[in-house]
């Protein structure tokens, strides 16, 4: 299965883009396709365009009817306000952004290690019933988290975990186990069994084979999992709002933004758009530079090889 979904999606199809001269109807369809693709492109870009142009129009200088217009002259004043806060916004985003970064990186790294070990066992050291266990794991990926949320909140309140940001590290690690295991397991399935066999012939232990054969080959899967866990934890709102109860001391990017753009501040369009953009910047950077890996993680959710 070295030829996975993403490879199939992105491979060049030179064979199909033929060099010969196009006939009239082929030319027509090519132009038609470009026009359709461009129209769709405009629709897809529209919301982010609106956010971008209005973030350069100051805190409250955005007139609703002008919001499609370009920001002339450029006004950067909304950026420091969204970041640091001001008299009418006691909390800027800075603190929550750093807090999010802190917890997201930890949960992504730990999730990747756990996923790698699990994936190794599911792919190469199957035991009786391991396929059933794997399916039970997968179901955990699809459940609506509402179905576990209330007991989880109760538990974290009882043991006092709700007082620290580690409650989110914990939640994202535990509920990330299924997807991380799946990604690593699918990746390890592509590593030939002969490599493992060679290790066994040399009487290497299971751990030894993992360390010296599997782990050095795992970097691409680690990147996929870390990126996936990073973006999904960064964008998560459900766990954050339930487990931190909206406490400002534990606010993360999404909950802080939800509070900031809430109804009393709805009129500060420029500031709201800027704040939304700031919260999206880390994931946009990841998407722009590591999009291929992000795509791999995203498509693994479809369970197709």
């Amino acid at each position: 299965m070295t030829h996975d979904l993403v490879d199939r999606l992105t491979e060049k199809h030179d064979a199909r883009v033929s060099k010969r001269k196009l006939t009239g109807s082929e030319k027509f369809w090519l132009i038609f396709r470009y026009i359709a693709l461009t129209l769709i492109w405009f629709l897809v870009v529209l919301p982010i365009y609106v956010m971008l142009v209005n973030s350069f129009k100051g805190v409250d200088n955005v007139y609703l009817v002008d919001a499609f217009k370009l920001p002339i002259p450029l006004d950067f004043s909304a950026w420091p306000v969204a970041w640091n806060g001001a008299a009418y916004f006691p909390h800027g985003l800075s603190e929550s952004m750093f807090r999010t970064l802190f917890f997201v990186i930890q949960s992504a790294l730990i999730s990747a290690v756990i996923g790698s070990i699990n994936g190794y066992v599911f792919a190469k050291w199957k035991f009786r019933g391991s396929n059933v266990v794997f399916t039970m794991f997968l179901f955990g990926m699809f459940i609506p988290y509402q179905a576990i949320m209330i007991p989880l909140v109760k538990l974290s309140n009882t043991i006092g975990l709700n007082k620290s940001i580690y409650v989110l590290v914990f939640a994202h690690i535990i509920y990330g186990i299924p997807i991380c295991t799946l990604i690593f397991r699918n990746y390890y399935e592509t590593i030939p069994n002969e490599l493992i066999e060679a290790g066994r012939v040399d009487r290497a232990s299971m751990v030894r084979i993992y360390r010296s054969i599997i782990l050095p080959l795992s970097i691409p899967a680690f990147v996929v999992v870390i990126i996936w866990q990073f973006t999904s934890a960064w964008n998560d709102f459900l766990f954050a709002i339930f487990l931190t109860g909206g406490s400002p001391k534990l606010s993360v990017a999404t909950t802080a933004l939800n509070f900031l753009t809430g109804s009393p501040n709805a009129v500060y369009y420029g500031m709201n758009m800027t704040a939304s953009l700031i919260v999206s910047i880390p994931v946009l950077i990841v998407y722009i530079f590591l999009g291929r890996y992000f795509l791999r993680g995203m498509l693994s959710g479809s369970l197709k090889g």
Partner: protein, 302 residues
Amino acid sequence: MKSTSKNNFTSKLGGFFFLLPSMIAVAIFVYGMILWTVNISLSNRNSGYVKELKNVGLKNYTDLISDDRFTHALSNLVKFTLTFMIATLLAGFIMSLLLEKGIKGEGFFRSFYLYPMAISFIAMGTAFRWLFNTGRDGDAAGLNLLLKNVGLGFLQNDWILSEKGAMYSMALPAIWQMSGYVMALFLAGFRGISDEMREAARVDGATEFQIYRSILFPQLTPTLLTVLIILGHVSMKMFDLIVGINGKSYGTQVVAVYMWETTFDSGNLAKGTAISIVILLMVALVVVPYLRYVNKQEAYRQ
């Protein structure tokens, strides 16, 4: 492989041992917590002041049937799901059709079509709230202004605040977000079909339309199934998107949002958990058969 793994009992036990921590974690935090949720939903924990907890059977569930707010949220979810699934499927499929033959600039279009999947809806909500502005004609902003400018002014409406169409409007951002994903799945599906099949049909004198209809489309049936399952379960869980754009507002409340309100604002844990279990059952109804299907396919492949 088979022969060595048979007498390698210790290493098999090793695999089990390494998996054990995760198995325990999943058992407790997924399955155990679901059971705990069921347990609360069968109790009379309907406010924070209940002194004597007792089992009331399925009362919280039967109460939901006569709860107008719940049936309202459920009918909203049905409207949303139907609109979202049909439109996203069509949009994504058309996008993949436009790209599947390969075109200069494909990578550019594809990356833009997929970026909505990377951004949180709490953030995108700000932009969509403005796009859904209800001002018209002279005061038009957002989508209404856009419609007015392209000569479709008669289509201006109140979007998520309109009485009948709120949920159909709410499906727009969801369609916007997921179409790229559907496109990616179909595109990968198209490219899994060998070029020889097309060529053979072409040599036999089939028209392009015939090739699509009788050769390519039938082979995309498994992809279609995957897409429907993904869209279905995503739709039933829809939460961030609706909260990000319209908060808990009654007009666009779906089941997951109503669950949040019941639990948080009313502190009615018994009812909140009952609603959660209803969502879980709806999701399980589509996901469990799918997991079985995928399992069978894998067994077949090995």
